[in-house]
């Protein structure tokens, strides 16, 4: 026996195998008829937090164009370096993204892009069912980002820290 192991005298009620076994049998039998707790996933879904940070979504203006003005703040702040932005400018001097890609595999879902965006264009989404057949499928381009319809993540509000 190892040094320093405490050997404690215990009453028979604690060490009895037969009693413990019978108690266990009773316990399992009781649970046999109890309410089940499994969420039947594809049919039932657990509700997500309003601040759940899932795959991105680009909001659009009324005429269906991305709100993004290609300011370049989100690729700058992105700690995972997963946003690729090529800015463009039309004849009236309005900046717009020529290319806007987010590699969702690199993304760490910190939400900085959404926080930093001056136009409230890029958002993280309340969405988690992402599956693709290839790695390339996880590089979301502008078209795909604008086409997403899931609800967007709400930002943390310092005035209402618990989100009530």
């Amino acid at each position: 026996m190892a040094i320093g192991v405490k050997v404690i005298e215990r009453p028979i009620a604690e060490t009895s195998y037969v009693r413990a076994a019978l108690q266990g049998m009773g316990r399992t039998l009781k649970h046999l008829f109890e309410q089940k707790v499994t969420t039947q996933y594809p049919e039932q879904k657990e509700s997500l937090s309003r601040r759940w940070r899932g795959t991105h979504r680009m909001l659009t203006t009324e005429d269906g164009k991305a709100k993004c003005v290609a300011c370049g703040l989100c690729p700058t702040i992105c700690p995972a370096n997963c946003i690729k932005l090529v800015p463009g400018e039309d004849e009236r001097g309005n900046r717009y993204p020529l290319a806007f890609e987010i590699d969702e595999f690199r993304c760490i879902f910190c939400g900085y892009c959404q926080e930093v965006c001056p136009e409230e264009a890029i958002h993280l989404g309340r969405h988690y069912e992402n599956s693709e057949y290839s790695r390339e499928g996880f590089v979301y381009d502008l078209e795909r980002l604008t086409a997403q319809t899931h609800p967007v993540c709400e930002m943390w509000d310092p005035a209402d820290p618990k989100g009530e």
Partner: protein, 429 residues
């Protein structure tokens, strides 16, 4: 071979063989097909029941995707196992590796040949026994064949050429051989009371006492059930599989249908042992509160009723097996061996002597074998059970880790620990 010749041969072997060949032949075929079908369906659905019951005990739903409420899950499992790749380890002994799953499965199934599953039927073509082979030595046959099950497991473990599998096989041989003895010994009181080794007669004897053997021979029932759990490698005795230590033990190297056969064998063994417990200790097919079924062959509705009763008892014990499995943790290997050799075997031997003495005394007192006789046996057993559990419960059935210490050393450690506790308490003050 002509029917008359085979009948003549049969009558040489068995004096009670039927007088006519064709009714016997057709009846046997029908029984064979029906029994095999029911047997395999029950085995398949026991796998589902195991998963369902374990899930319910853990507040889950269990498999519920295939078919209504998951009822087709066994079919899906079977299909999956047939489609899977068969692997053959390069250094395995190929012949034995292939043979082992069948050797594990067949003994469990053969036992059903002698288990009576219903009362004999007084058919228009004569008396038809509701067991495949109405052997006069049914119980001996059962004991002989149930010990064959270990070969499949041992050979599987050895032929796989895998250390985990070999350890599993070794454990199972040690375990099954050890428990085989106490199992056989625990059946001797049943034979003493019944005075017969024919399973049908054992059923009838229980009916004539108006008490099931579980009451008149309660300690024997306990010994037999514990041994049966060990024989079927079920928890708390699943040392041969022991996932946490041996991957899956003897069937580590098996895949697809060969693995599935081991799985089926385990459940087939459970089913057989459930039926044996029901027959030997719970009155078998006997219809309770009714004497008409024990005096001879009965009408067909009564046959069906007795079959339903037997079936219900068997299903209950299947549930019992599952219930135990999902409640009790596995024994340590030294505990397993000490339970087998130091506890069950001496108890079984002493129990034989006590039961034999009691029977001798009761017969000498001129008591008829009826309810009073059974009641006295029950009283003796109740006292024995109380004494047994009181003695065994003092840390000896399952010894704690310090149970193997020298008593003096244990006393010294305890005094040290007490002194230390005292010091800490006084320091805290």
């Amino acid at each position: 071979m002509s029917p008359s010749l085979s009948l003549a041969l049969l009558q040489v072997v068995d004096r009670q063989a039927p007088a006519e060949f064709w009714p016997w032949f057709v009846a046997t075929l029908v029984k064979l097909v029906a029994l095999f079908t029911i047997y395999m369906i029950v085995v398949a659905y026991t796998t589902l029941a195991e998963r369902k019951v374990s899930a319910w005990m853990q507040d889950r739903y269990g498999p519920n995707r295939v078919g209504p409420r998951g009822l087709f899950q066994p079919l899906a499992d079977g299909l999956k196992n047939i489609m899977k790749e068969e692997t053959l380890p390069p250094y395995a002994n190929k012949v034995l590796f292939m043979l082992a799953p069948a050797m594990a499965f067949i003994p469990a199934m053969i036992l059903w040949a002698v288990i009576p599953f219903a009362a004999p039927w007084a058919s228009p073509w004569g008396r038809i026994e509701m067991q495949l082979a109405p052997l006069p030595i049914g119980l001996l046959f059962v004991i002989a064949f149930s010990s064959l099950g270990v070969y499949g497991i041992v050979l599987a473990g050895w032929s796989s050429n895998n250390k985990y599998a070999l350890l599993g096989g070794l454990r199972s041989s040690a375990q099954m051989v050890s428990y085989e003895i106490s199992m056989g010994m625990s059946l001797i009181p049943v034979l003493l009371v019944a005075g017969n080794v024919t399973l049908n007669e054992i059923v009838n004897q229980q009916a004539s006492l108006h008490l099931w053997n579980v009451l008149t021979l309660g300690v024997g029932f306990f010994l037999y059930t514990v041994s049966a759990f060990a024989e079927t490698n079920r928890l708390p005795f699943d040392l041969p599989e022991a996932e946490s230590e041996l991957i899956t033990g003897y069937h580590t190297e098996y895949s697809a249908m060969k693995f599935s056969l081991f799985f089926i064998a385990e459940y087939a063994n459970m089913l057989t042992q459930s039926a044996m417990i029901a027959t030997l200790f719970f009155g078998g097919w006997d219809i309770p509160f009714m004497r008409a079924d024990n005096v001879g062959a009965v009408s067909f509705p009564l046959v069906l009723l007795s079959f339903a009763i037997m079936f219900a008892k068997t299903l209950f014990f299947l549930f019992f097996f599952i219930w135990i499995r999902w409640t009790l943790p596995r024994f340590r290997y030294d505990q397993l061996m000490s339970i087998g050799w130091k506890v069950l075997l001496p108890i079984a031997l002493a129990y034989i002597v006590i039961v034999a003495g009691t029977l001798l005394a009761l017969d000498a007192a001129g008591l008829k074998r009826d309810f009073v006789y059974g009641a006295i046996l029950f009283a003796v057993n109740a006292v024995l059970a109380v004494v047994m559990f009181r003695i065994l419960d003092r840390g000896r059935i399952v010894s704690p880790a310090y149970g193997r210490l020298d008593p003096q050393e244990l006393a010294r450690l305890r005094s040290v620990s007490r002194a230390r506790t005292h010091l800490t308490v006084s320091a805290g003050d």
